[in-house]
């Protein structure tokens, strides 16, 4: 009984930390983009502008939570919740450190892929339920993009599964004690990263919400708390993809020996994740948005063959005993 209570406490603690982190990322993003673009960014609220997110949050909570009369009410309200819940659920299988982690699910990696594929419903249903043209177009783009890139995401991590022989994320991390999987799975990592950007529809692959073409895409009709939930889902998605890259390819909380003893494993994990989050933000500032058909044909014509080739070569090399995890 006491174990269950501890587990519940751990879950609550992780959620209670993840949501403020997602909120803070909004500030980090705006501030870093500002610095990279040679401006200041938000620096007025609190020291260095660090309280900007709090101000934004108060503002967004104070807004009228409006449901358009022409929308499909139930689905309209449900859609943002699905998105946020699916992303939060994925963190349930995340091994944060040797001792922290909600569940050591034996199909952890599959669970992550499943939640990623369910998260599509959020965007698609939002687009449909809004009953407006821009939202519908955004939702349809999201469906096509996410279903396509899901395939490559699944294929790209199969190399990791092949080498470690497990779907359990904790075992995958522990299999990297001799060396991180990025050494042999570099191609897999690149595909995973690109697919991850497309899955979380971040720039440069944010075509479902491309404001120059679709005003705000699938969340055109959303405001107030429901819009905030979409925002939360997006920033948690960025954190999730970063954390997943770290777990699958960069040894999770593990570090080479002299460095490992300097800081606790959890801190190393957070630092690595933060590095990838920053990389995501840097991508957003520096890359232009492709056209939608370019995005899809790039996926199917280059990413799919590359992912299959990576899997084939990995399998052949493992069979030949050249590489091992």
């Amino acid at each position: 009984m006491i174990e269950i209570l501890f587990k519940l406490l751990e879950i609550l603690l992780i959620i209670a930390l993840l949501i403020p982190i997602a909120a803070m990322l909004v500030w980090v993003e705006r501030r870093m983009i500002g610095i990279w673009q040679n401006r200041l960014g938000p620096n007025r609220v609190g020291p260095l502008g660090i309280l900007q997110s709090v101000a934004d949050l108060l503002k967004i909570l104070g807004k009228e939570d409006w449901v358009p009369p022409f929308s499909e009410r139930t689905v309209f309200v449900l859609a943002p919740v699905i998105g946020a819940v699916c992303v939060l659920m994925s963190f349930a299988v995340m091994p944060f450190s040797p001792t922290i982690g909600v569940s050591d699910l034996n199909i952890g990696l599959l669970f992550f892929l499943a939640m990623a594929s369910l998260a599509v419903y959020s965007v698609v249903l939002a687009g449909w339920a809004s009953n407006s043209k821009y939202a519908l177009l955004g939702g349809m783009r999201a469906a096509a993009q996410t279903v396509s890139y899901e395939v490559f995401m699944g294929l790209s991590v199969m190399g990791v599964v092949l080498l470690t022989g497990s779907f359990n994320l904790r075992e995958i991390v522990l299999a990297q004690q001799e060396g991180w999987l990025i050494e042999t799975q570099f191609v897999g990592f690149i595909i995973f990263l690109i697919a991850g950007i497309a899955e979380s529809h971040r720039l440069p692959f944010d075509l479902p919400e491309a404001e120059t073409e679709l005003t705000a895409g699938f969340h055109t009709e959303y405001s107030g708390l429901k819009f905030a939930l979409f925002f939360l889902g997006e920033y948690l998605g960025v954190t999730l993809i970063s954390a997943m890259s770290v777990v699958l390819f960069f040894g999770g909380w593990l570090m080479p020996e002299p460095l490992a003893s300097w800081l606790p494993p959890l801190v190393w994990f957070i630092l690595k994740v933060f590095f990838f989050v920053l990389f995501f933000i840097l991508l957003r500032t520096s890359l232009p948005r492709p056209r939608f058909d370019q995005l899809l044909s790039f996926g199917w014509k280059y990413m799919l063959p590359l992912a299959l080739l990576n899997l084939l070569v990995t399998a052949a090399l493992k069979l030949g005993g050249v590489i091992y995890a």
């Binding site: 199909i107 669970f111 892929l113 599509v120 698609v124 449909w128 058909d293």
Partner: protein, 180 residues
């Protein structure tokens, strides 16, 4: 009457959810709502699989059925602008005779299901052990290799048909520089 364990409670709850959601699928008038209930039903079935000791099957159920196939369904419904009240387009069923065929088939399936659930052999197999991904893979590429190959042929046929439909044919398609 023996007391159900928490896991058994979970199983029956998930099974009940699956049945209720499936009923809502066929009784609903709004096609998107029906599809959403179908998603719920599939998720509930995935939970059942998991609790029965088949985590790999549960994962694939969510990824393939709920996460990919039904998204395509929703996509199609959005594209054709369906959703309001689809019963208006449905053929009117007037005679009792159309129910005979489906009823016989359903009754046969029900009898089979009851028999299977009742047989101790199946009960034994269900509660024995957890089937992991490696065992599923070994079976698929061992004894069931032929079935896998046949299924892949079927998919290949679908792929070729899909390509044939999507292939640019008219002159206005050639002016389109994009490569769909």
């Amino acid at each position: 009457m023996n007391v159900l364990s928490p896991l058994q409670w979970m199983f029956y709850l998930a099974a009940l959810l699956a049945i209720v959601a499936s009923l809502k699928v066929i009784t609903g008038k709004n096609s998107v709502h029906s599809l959403l209930y179908l998603v719920v039903s599939l998720l509930a079935v995935a939970v059942c699989f998991y609790l029965m000791g088949a985590p790999f099957a549960a994962g694939l159920e969510v990824i393939v059925y709920a996460g990919a196939i039904l998204v395509l369904f929703v996509f199609a419904i959005m594209m054709f602008g369906l959703g309001k009240d689809e019963t208006l387009n449905a053929p009117k069923i007037t005679s009792f005779r159309v129910w005979i065929g489906p009823s016989v088939i359903a009754a046969l399936l029900l009898a089979q299901l009851v028999y299977v659930i009742d047989s101790p052999d199946i009960q034994d197999k269900l509660t024995s052990n957890v089937i992991n991904a490696k065992q599923v893979g070994a079976l698929l590429y061992g004894p069931y290799l032929l079935a896998v190959e046949i299924a892949s042929f079927l998919l290949l046929a679908g792929l070729i048909a899909g390509y044939h439909f999507a292939k640019p044919t008219g002159y206005h398609d050639n002016n389109n520089s994009g490569g769909w």
